[in-house]
Amino acid sequence: MIEQKVMDPQQLFFEAERQEVFITGSEIVKEAVKRANVDIAISYPITPQSESMHLVGDLYAEGYVKEYFRGESEFAVMSEVIGAAMAGVRVFTATGGQGALRAFENFPNWSGSRLPLVCAFMTRGLNAPLSIQPDTLEMAFMLDTGMIILHAEAAQDIYDMLLKAFIIAEKTDVHIPVGVFMDGFFVTHTRDKVKITPAEFKLPPYEPYSSPIPVMDMENVPFRHMRDPFVMKSNFISYAAHASWQQEVLAAAERSRRYIQQYLGGLVEKENENADILIITSGTAVSQSQEAIAMAQQEGIDVGLVKIKCIRPFPTAEIQQLAANAKAIIVPEFNRVGWMCRELKSVIEDNTKVVGGPRVFGGMTMPPEMILDEIRRCTQ
């Protein structure tokens, strides 16, 4: 193994010197994992994720990751990481699009099993005929898996969110998985400038006994869980256990808010948030909105921007406050169903002012002009 010095997370995230590099999103994943003190990484190819896990494989060959292999399918990989996490090590994997849906049954199980797994999701269209192009539709399916969901806008977010995800996920009072989502191609394959910390420093190792549930290593007392297994529903206890456990997983996500605040500086970022017209969105749609807002400004239209970084837990209070005085809220999205719009409408009191769209799907980018058109309409 390559020797790296352990650095306190707070110091690594906020104080360590940073060097600017010009690399692709996939390469940023490698740089983050290199500094994350990952024990095991398990891979399975799917465009646009594959490159990132090739590179994590290189980290294994170089001695930065202790164990690495290619599993036989996304479903299997997402189960293999369960075993590894239950044994008390830090685990990383990545998938996207159809791969995420192939593995889907595992995700609520990760949360329910309180596993601090970190998975990168490189989003991709799910439609038939088959598509490999960018589309954030899969996120609609992931919202209620119990995972913490972070959405990277661009290069810098990938680096920071991935590293911070491990620390947030592994807090004893959280200890649930974190999905770090990034838009396929738009972010994974774009070469961009990103500031990274020196490779000689890494995060502290995962402490297995910080887990709120027993580690499966036979180094703690093997107890008889119950007289009847939960699945039997043969008594009130099993019902109560299921009901309270679902709430506990949700509560764990709620408890993550303060860590997300601490490490990511909040669940949202905002610019010019007192403008009458607000754009609220996440991921690449934020980048496209930046361009549209600059164009609107030249026409004398004032538009504010709210970037949602954390989608689960949802920044309900933040959004309610930001939306209170806005006259119109535009929600550009890279998917057909408009899941972000649904989310916003479900928490904003006067949701008639929420404009769902523009929406682009099928793999095309969103021309800033489309957003500008929507902005112009809102001024009428």
């Binding site: 164990e67 036989e72 090590v89």
Partner: protein, 285 residues
């Protein structure tokens, strides 16, 4: 596992459940017990919620009594009847999803090797026939192809029993079961042969009728998996409920199958594994 871990702190003896006290005083941890010793020690399985006469429950008791290293064994199960009994077993057990047991076991074993490089941690998969040969077959076989150091044990009751007696890949041809209303259209899957071809170092078929043999085979399978490579055991464990026979006829069912030639104890071992076992025997002398 450090035995101090499960010792009861002074003063707490009275409030701990009786079965826990029994486990500490008369349990099998570190004792090297086997099938022959059943009845003389506190078993790992405390009661169970399975049907009267369940062949699978008997197989489980025999497996648990044969673990060479129960204090450092983790069992990975799957959805099915056996999953109902595992929460009552005093070794750590994982029940994740239906069919993913060998994938979970792969990750678990590799992670335990990282964390405990100098300690034996046995990972044993115990799952039903549906979990092993149908829904989880890709992951079962890939764990063999990858030469994972895990033992896979199938509790073969020739049906999906927990969901009400549907046909499985291990049901016999022509068996009339739910979802096979006119009888199964293809033969029982030859998983032991598949296991040999897929790289298992040791493969066996046995049933609780041959209890001592079963115990020895479980032990062999676990010891070989530690050092040589993947092993597979298939335990014929008839289901009185779904095959509609009386609960006291389970052993007779197996005898009938032996008689008509549809069940036979079989063992396959690679020369490397055989040499390894011989080495262990040598060490004992």
């Amino acid at each position: 596992m450090n035995k101090n871990l499960f010792k009861i702190s002074p003063g707490y003896e009275e409030i701990m459940p009786a079965e826990y006290l029994d486990l500490i005083n008369d349990g099998p941890y570190g004792k090297n017990y086997g099938v022959d010793d059943l009845g003389t020690f506190k078993e790992l399985l405390e009661e169970h919620p399975l049907c009267a006469g369940c062949g699978l429950a008997l197989s489980m008791r025999l497996i648990l009594a044969s673990l060479p290293n129960p204090e450092d064994t983790i069992i990975v199960g799957s959805t099915g009847c056996s999953a109902l009994a595992f929460p009552q077993v005093a070794v750590q057990n994982i029940h994740s999803l239906f069919g993913n047991q060998n994938a979970v076991a792969t990750g678990l074993k590799r992670a335990l090797k990282l964390r405990f490089p100098d300690k034996i941690k046995d990972v044993v998969v115990v799952a039903g026939d549906g979990a092993t040969v149908d829904i989880g077959l890709d992951m079962v076989m890939h764990s063999w192809f990858r030469k994972e150091n895990i033992t896979t044990i199938m509790l073969d009751n020739e049906a999906y029993a927990n969901t009400g007696g549907q046909e499985s890949g291990m049901s016999q041809e022509k068996a009339v079961l739910n979802m096979a209303p006119t009888g199964k259209k293809f033969p029982k899957i030859a998983l032991p042969e598949v296991a040999q071809a897929a790289g298992c170092a040791y493969v066996g078929e046995v049933s609780p009728l041959q209890a001592k043999r079963l115990g020895k085979m479980v032990r062999n399978a676990i010891l070989i998996a530690r050092e040589i490579g993947p092993t597979y055991l298939q335990l014929y464990s008839p289901c009185p409920t779904n095959y509609k026979f009386k609960s006291n006829e389970t052993m007779q069912k197996i005898k009938d199958r032996v008689k008509d030639g549809t069940f036979k104890v079989k063992e396959y071992i690679t020369p490397e594994a055989e040499q390894f076992l011989a080495g262990i025997e040598e060490g004992k002398k």
